[in-house]
């Protein structure tokens, strides 16, 4: 299996792994303390500060490492919440049908009709902005998208003869959802998961940039852009580093998701 990894997937896997490892071991890797002021304002990159310093003289590499930890942690947790809620409710709607399906689907339509960023800003402006609240709000808002996909996929699968055969056998709903539908819905969902994770990274970065996300002095990529954006006027590129980080993470996660999609669909005999 390891031998057959295509190059694109290997590159994606390498960078995704790198980002996650750095995020997990941030405390040990980071050369300085997260909020420690160690030099002058916007110092250029040097042997001491590989990426230079930020708007109040903190080591930018350290900020990036801690920022990655916060961003990836929040995005991962929010993705987990959005996936479990979204897919369980989506499958349930598909299996139950009738009024339960109508009720859930129309509620989801209602939530989706309001742009999620605006809705998130409204909710967060009346709630205390802490990390758990951020995760729950982002996760639940995004679960509407997962619900739509999961329901669409499950409705297709629920009419297959093997699901009918299981129903005729007398199987309960849990078996239908977890043993008949879920394994067959997995590949589109996994591909979607990569995409949703990246949207979460962008979502939390946007919120932080607007000041309603992660609060200082905690670092996160969107926050680093916000703190250093004024430097761009003076030709200082500090704000570009988090942008590069977000872009590379997005690309590598998608390369991995693509590969997983291809691998899992080959079980059915097709190639996606």
């Amino acid at each position: 299996m390891i031998k057959n990894i295509p190059l694109a997937a290997a590159v994606g896997l390498f960078f995704t792994g790198l980002y996650f490892l750095v995020a997990i071991f941030a405390q040990w890797i980071a050369p300085y303390g997260m909020a420690e002021v160690v030099g002058g304002v916007w110092e250029p990159p040097s042997a001491k500060h590989w990426l230079g310093t930020d708007n109040i003289g903190r080591d930018l590499l350290t900020r990036m490492i801690y920022g990655g930890q916060t961003t990836i942690f929040i995005a991962t947790m929010a993705t987990v919440i959005s996936f479990t809620t979204g897919s369980v409710l989506g499958f349930l709607a598909a299996v139950l049908g009738g009024w339960a399906d109508q009720l859930l689907s129309r509620f989801v339509d209602l939530v989706m009709s309001i742009p999620s960023l605006i809705l998130a800003l409204v909710i967060l402006s009346v709630m205390p902005v802490t990390v758990p609240i951020l995760i729950v709000v982002m996760g639940l808002l995004d679960s509407t998208r997962v619900y739509r996909l999961a329901r669409a996929v499950a409705v297709d699968i629920a009419v297959m003869d093997y699901v009918e055969a299981a129903k005729l056998r007398g199987e309960g709903r849990a078996w239908l959802i977890f043993r008949e539908i879920l394994p067959n819905a997995l590949s589109p969902l996994v591909a979607e998961m990569g995409l949703r994770f990246i949207f979460m990274v962008l979502f939390i970065s946007t919120l932080s940039f607007l000041g309603l996300g992660v609060q200082p002095p905690m670092a996160d990529w969107g926050g680093i852009v916000k703190e250093n954006k004024d430097g761009i006027v003076y030709g200082i590129g500090a704000a570009l580093w988090p942008a590069v980080a977000i872009a590379t993470l997005a690309i590598s996660v998608n390369l991995v998701a693509d590969w997983i999609l291809n691998r899992t669909t080959s079980l059915k005999g097709g190639r996606g």
């Binding site: 003869d161 055969a165 005729l168 056998r169 080959s266 059915k268 005999g269």
Partner: protein, 545 residues
């Protein structure tokens, strides 16, 4: 020779396969096939799925479908080797000199445009006719093909004509640009038997009148015998036998051809009904939710233990609906169903586990009847675990016993459905039904998606299992040859009603009602001239018109 149209020499066709958990590699699907075709003649290509017959048919347009490549040999059409010509020449060839009729007309017509527009397109594009000439020609072809209202039927959209009519429109489409060769790729396989006759007749007449040459691809030897001059029997990309139709049908040389000719020769002794029927369907009427039309009207049938009741009819006759009512997926509106002496609740969800266990079902499409993510062992093992609580080594042993019973063996236990052939898949579905130790199995068109020889194997297996397990079958089919092979009693359904019902010998003995007569006479017979005989003696128009 001047009337030589097609000359194929040592044709080799290959493709790249992508097996799970292995590197993609190249395989050869056609290994050096050669044949000739003269103008105005019909060559039948016959074989099971995977024989390469469609692939060979498409190679006369120098085309390979879905990653298939022509890797060697020569295909001469009108005196030039089309494998060596440029793309511009191929464009003139495809749709101009050589045209194609596919199996599913419904999937091949653009639903958003009227039929006639699509028919004249190729002729106009190839500058064979002007638009008005082509339209005139289309009307003429409609008339030749026996379509109703030939002047105006072209203005309809594809969904406004029946399946058999659409298939004939597709033939008109292929004939419109006055091609030299038409490739018919299973043109009647998706149709009901009674409709099949009309389409066959129309195709045969059109070929005769226009003097076009044709390649006729099918898996049904009896059908191809009616239309072709020569027949080539193919198996796994090799020529098995190639000769005149008369020789292939009446004097086959190879064992494989002999097997194809004598297919469906299973003999089944009819059993006498017992005093206590296992299943009694009384005055059942049913309709689908939200409609005001009864799909089943006052149906009464009985099934005796260890016997087979065949329910016969064409698409839309309500035979599958009857199965849905018995299983409880579609509760009946009126009437009642008694099973093994007790009354069955109409709602499936309200039935006891014992009722569910004793009444199993096998589906037409085995590949969608099995979860592609479960191994054969899981698929067969689940009913054992679910109904009998069997686990671990004991379960494994029982699964292996069942695999032996369906003549497959324990090597298959860890395979996925995608790694099985069509016949093996259906066998696994039979084993899954048997695992529940049922008293009755509903078989819904279980052999109609299979090749004739494979289908024969399945029927024999079902009959053997019936002797061992004493299980009763409710056998739903549109194929009367199957019915003759397997049934003890027969119910003929037409438009939601049982029009004829009784023991096999009663139902299949004259005097017939018109519909049963039509149905019986429409089953293709393995002899020359059958088609003409049938059409001459028909009493009733088929439902497709």
């Amino acid at each position: 020779m001047s009337d030589q149209l097609v000359k194929v020499r040592d044709l080799k066709i290959g493709a790249t396969v992508f097996p799970p958990n292995a590197k993609p590699h190249d395989i050869e699907i056609v290994h050096g096939v050669s044949f000739d075709l003269e103008r105005g003649k019909v060559l039948g290509l016959i074989g099971e799925s995977g024989a390469g017959k469609s692939t060979i048919g498409l190679s006369t347009m120098a085309y390979g479908r879905g990653g298939v490549r022509i890797t060697g040999g020569e295909v001469w059409i009108n005196g030039r080797d089309i494998l060596q010509t440029k793309n511009a020449d191929l464009r003139a060839l495809r749709g101009g000199e050589v045209t194609y009729v596919s199996q599913s007309a419904a999937a091949s017509f653009n639903p958003a445009r009227p039929i006639v527009e699509q028919i004249v397109e190729a002729a106009v594009r190839h500058k064979k006719f002007s638009r008005s000439e082509a339209e005139k020609r289309a009307v003429e072809l409609f008339r030749k093909l026996g379509l109703p209202e030939p002047e105006t039927i072209g203005e309809r959209y594809p969904h406004q004509v029946s399946g058999g009519q659409l298939q004939r429109c597709m033939t008109a489409l292929a004939l419109c640009p006055e091609p030299d060769l038409v490739v018919f790729d299973e043109p009647t396989t998706a149709l009901d038997v009674t409709t099949q006759i009309d389409v066959l007749m129309a195709i045969k007449a059109a070929i005769r009148d226009t003097g076009v040459a044709a390649l006729y691809i099918t898996h049904d030897l009896a059908v191809v015998a009616q239309v072709s001059d020569d027949i080539m029997v193919l198996k796994l990309g090799d020529t098995v036998e190639y000769g005149s139709t008369d020789q292939i049908i009446n004097n086959p040389q190879e064992d494989y051809t002999k097997a194809l000719v004598s297919v469906r020769s299973i003999d089944h002794e009819e059993k006498q009904p017992t005093p206590d029927p296992l299943l009694r369907v009384e005055n059942v009427t049913a309709r689908y939710k939200g409609t005001k039309f009864d799909v089943l009207k006052d149906v009464n049938v009985e099934l005796h233990p260890g016997q087979t009741l065949a329910v016969v009819g064409e698409s839309g006759s309500g035979k599958s609906t009857l199965a849905r009512v018995i299983t409880g997926l579609l509760p009946q509106r009126e009437g009642q169903i008694t099973f093994d002496g007790r009354q069955l609740t109409p709602e499936q969800s309200a039935r006891s586990r014992e009722d569910l266990r004793e009444l199993q079902m096998i589906y037409q499409m085995a590949d969608v009847a099995m979860n592609p993510r479960q191994t054969v062992g899981t698929i067969i093992g689940r009913p054992l675990e679910f109904y009998f609580g069997v686990k671990g080594d004991e379960k494994r042993k029982k699964i292996i016993d069942l695999l032996d019973e369906i003549e497959m063996g324990k090597d298959f236990i860890d395979r996925y459905p995608a790694e099985l052939s069509g016949g093996q898949k259906q066998r696994v579905c039979i084993a899954r039904a048997l695992a529940a130790k049922p008293k009755m199995i509903i078989c819904d068109e279980v052999t109609s998606a299979l090749d004739p020889l494979v289908a024969d194997g399945i029927l024999k297996l079902l009959l053997d299992l019936q002797k061992i397990e004493n299980v009763a079958y409710l056998f739903i089919t549109h194929d009367l040859a199957t019915v003759k092979a397997i049934a003890d009693s027969i119910a003929v359904m037409y438009q939601g009603q049982v029009v004829r019902y009784g023991s096999k010998s009663e139902v299949l003995a004259p005097p017939f009602d018109d519909y049963t007569d039509l149905l019986l006479s429409s089953v293709p017979e393995m002899r020359l001239g059958w088609l003409e005989d049938v059409v001459a003696h028909r009493k009733m128009e088929s439902a497709g018109n």
